[in-house]
Amino acid sequence: MRITSFNFFVFLFLSLVVFYIFPKKYRWFALLGISIFFFVFSSSWKLLLYMIFGIVVSYLGSNIIEKKCKNDKSKKIVLFLTLFLIVGELAILKYINIFPATINLFGSLFNLDIYFNTINLLAPLGISYYTLSLIGYVTDVYRTTSKAQTNILKHALFTCYYPLLISGPVVRYNYMQREFFEEKKLDFNNLFIGFTRLIYGLLKKLVIADQLSQVVNAVFSNYNYYTGWYLVVAVILYAIQIYADFSGCMDIVIGASKMYGVNLPENFNSPFFSKNLSEFWRRWHISLGTWGKDYIMYPLLKANIFQKIGKKCKKLFGKKIGKLIPTIISILLLWLFIGLWHGASYKYIFAAGILPWIYLTVGQIVEKPIEKLTEKLHIKTECFSFRLFQSLRTFFFMCVIWLFACSPSLRESIYIIKNIFVNASLLLRNELPVIPILPILFSVTIVFIVDYLNYKNIDVSLKFKEQNLIFKFIVLFAFIITILIYGAYGPGYNPTDFIYGGF
């Protein structure tokens, strides 16, 4: 069930009715039933078994760690066993093809007569997201920062809460426990704020992302024909598309969840206003970034082996560089994980893993010299023009990443980069799909304004709620009419899945 489909809105409405009919104390149980229904309706009963496996393993693991294990060693063994089973399931379902792909790649590079067929295994909806949440939960129980849930049904809700299955965010148990299990009253404010957010998400997804995707797909599927500026413009449009798509999806799920009275954590915070790349990643897919730091990077830095490397490097290269090397290695491992999480292909490992790592490492190394150079050249840094330069610079570097990410493969992205410099004319070609430019510009402007206000720490939804009813109605209906008229849905459009839904 697509969350932009008519069926979803019927489902949402009926599920809200069911949810609020339930006694307050048991509304979490209604959410569990609603989520299972959504899962089965969107995929199948068979795939539910995979999810049940994850739920049972993490439930048993966390409870054994908390209640049965007497010492740290036994806790560690149970933790690793639990993580091995949870990660193993994800690896088998989503990453098994990386092995034949690697062998085939080497085969083609060295002209060897070997070829392995890839295996198509169906993975349950949201496995990439709920697996991370489960890893975090079991680890938190091990670290005693979280209590193990003794009710398996409550634990199941944490895993399969349907708004989280589409594209995350990756959530923490301690946070979600409060949201799920506190008594939920029927609050019209929640309904209004949630609905508004949902409509705003639809505007981003259907009017901006899906309309732009027609042009982006047309250009990238024919990059030998659309060369030069076409490719540059298509990458910029892809940047807008991917942001509207992913953040639009977050708006829809956060909005839908809010209508049940469950607040989900934000996954975006005006990323295009970032001054540099490290700030960008603090504002883009926030939940994945913080999860990676908490459960990969920091544990690695604290690990014995990294401590030893640090000490050795300090001896060899001095205190400053010696301290930097273990950090750079742990960041590399973190980004390799993030790249791999995006998909079992070298394209993602490079575009979403190695390239960001290179950016950040080079950024760390050249940060101080550039600061000194800026001071020497008397460049003003506290003014609009410099801030604009910083944002555009960040955007440019991200566009390079997205160019790799939206290309069909790593090899083809090299051709695309070559073709950018071939025939750089900007003659408009009629073959490009017709898209409603003015409504898209209108919607992009709205998103820009909302993001700017968010960047300035102004709670837009709260401000909006405080306005007069007529103003609220006018704005809401302006959005709804724009979506109904200019949204990419219905016959003549290929309904596109959320980009991050595929990761």
């Binding site: 019209f188 309904l191 409603p436 109605f473 709804i480 109904l484 008229i485 849905y489």
Partner: protein, 358 residues
């Protein structure tokens, strides 16, 4: 307690207001995007007719709206009628079109174009055939019933874009022109100035086929079932019915099928007229009165309308509305009608001359 109840009613009232506006927007906004063409004007324009003002409704496809000229029938015989037709009618639509027609009018006579019962063998229904009618119909249980019973079964498509046709038409908003009659169509106040007729300023030089035969040939089983179902349905209504086949280049084989259809209809107690047996009585000229093998132009339409009007006057008791003060506005439409008739005839004459010179 009262205060608490009052407080809880405020958001509920707001929600209800929102839902009402939303339903209105969702249902009616689509009129801005529907393509402005004859099918929409004819089907939607029917709602704009004054309630219970029509004595006759002619239902069919193009074999209805390029043939039956309601304003000529009014001027010559005082018949208050409407051509309730759109392109390529499918027989299964008839029952629903009659139901729709009877919602706002109480006609004494409903004329049904019988050509649709003979189509099925060569032409299966397509999306556009249903859309031609459904696009102009207002949202109703009748429309829903047709969609649910036919769309998936006959054309294998999802029903939702038919129920809420904004899903289909929203795309045309930025590629085509906005329908200038959108607002009046939205509120069912659009009045079709030709009462459903459509001018085609074309001419074709054709020859008459020998179509005379008493033999019969079965029609497709599906068509027969639809016809029988329709006959059962119309018995439940108060109107009288006449089934007609308008003149075209009818073949012997087609005539054989119409003989078969005629038997079923007359057996059910309704009149059946195949105008293709009366070319001489109509004075139909195959070298000037048709614009293609299947349709007449205004010259042929005038002759056909006169012929059927005479038949109706003889066989049915329809009132003469020419002196009725309630029908004054019909006279207002006649100037435009004559102007368009003359213009179309002039274009046809010029084209005919060109064809003859070739």
């Amino acid at each position: 307690m009262k205060e608490k109840f009052k407080k809880s009613m405020i958001p509920i009232t707001k929600m209800i207001a929102f839902i009402i506006i939303f339903i209105f927007v969702f249902t009616y906004l689509t009129y801005l995007m529907k393509p402005d063409e004859v099918s929409l004007r004819n089907i939607n324009g029917y709602y704009g007719e004054k309630k219970n003002s029509l004595d006759m409704v002619y239902i069919g496809g193009s074999a209805c709206f390029v043939y039956w000229a309601p304003l000529q029938a009014f001027e010559d015989e005082g018949i208050a009628s409407y051509s309730y037709g759109a392109y390529v009618v499918q027989a299964e639509l008839y029952k629903y079109l009659i139901k729709e027609a009877l919602k706002t009018q109480d006609p004494e006579l409903i004329v049904i174009d019988a050509r649709a019962f003979q189509y099925r063998e060569n032409r299966l229904p397509e999306e556009v055939h249903y859309r031609n009618f459904l696009t102009g119909m207002s949202f109703s249980l009748n429309k829903l019933e047709f969609i649910n019973e036919n769309v998936e079964k006959n054309i294998g498509q999802e029903t939702l874009p038919y129920i809420f046709d904004i899903i289909k038409y929203h795309r045309s908003f930025f590629s085509d022109n906005i329908n200038p009659n959108a607002l009046s169509m939205m509120f069912h106040t659009y009045k079709n100035p030709l009462k459903g007729f459509y001018f085609v300023p074309e001419v074709a030089m054709l020859e008459e086929y020998d179509n005379k035969t008493d033999e019969e040939k079965k029609i497709a089983k599906e068509s027969e079932d639809i016809l029988l179902d329709l006959l059962d349905y119309i018995k439940t209504t108060d109107s009288d019915y006449l089934f007609v086949v308008s003149p075209y280049q009818e073949t012997k084989e087609q005539r054989m099928q119409f003989n078969y259809i005629e038997d079923i209809i007359t057996e059910a107690g309704y009149n059946f007229v195949d105008a293709n047996l009366y070319y001489d009585e109509m004075n139909l000229d195959f070298e000037g009165d048709l614009y293609n093998f299947n349709h007449v132009n205004i010259y042929g339409a005038e002759k056909y309308t006169s012929f059927i009007s005479d038949y109706i006057k003889e066989n049915y008791d329809l009132p003469d509305r020419r002196d009725d003060s309630n029908y004054k506005e019909w006279y207002d439409l006649l100037d435009n009608w004559h102007e368009q008739v003359d213009m179309t005839k002039k274009t046809i004459d010029d084209k005919k001359k060109e064809l003859l010179n070739e």
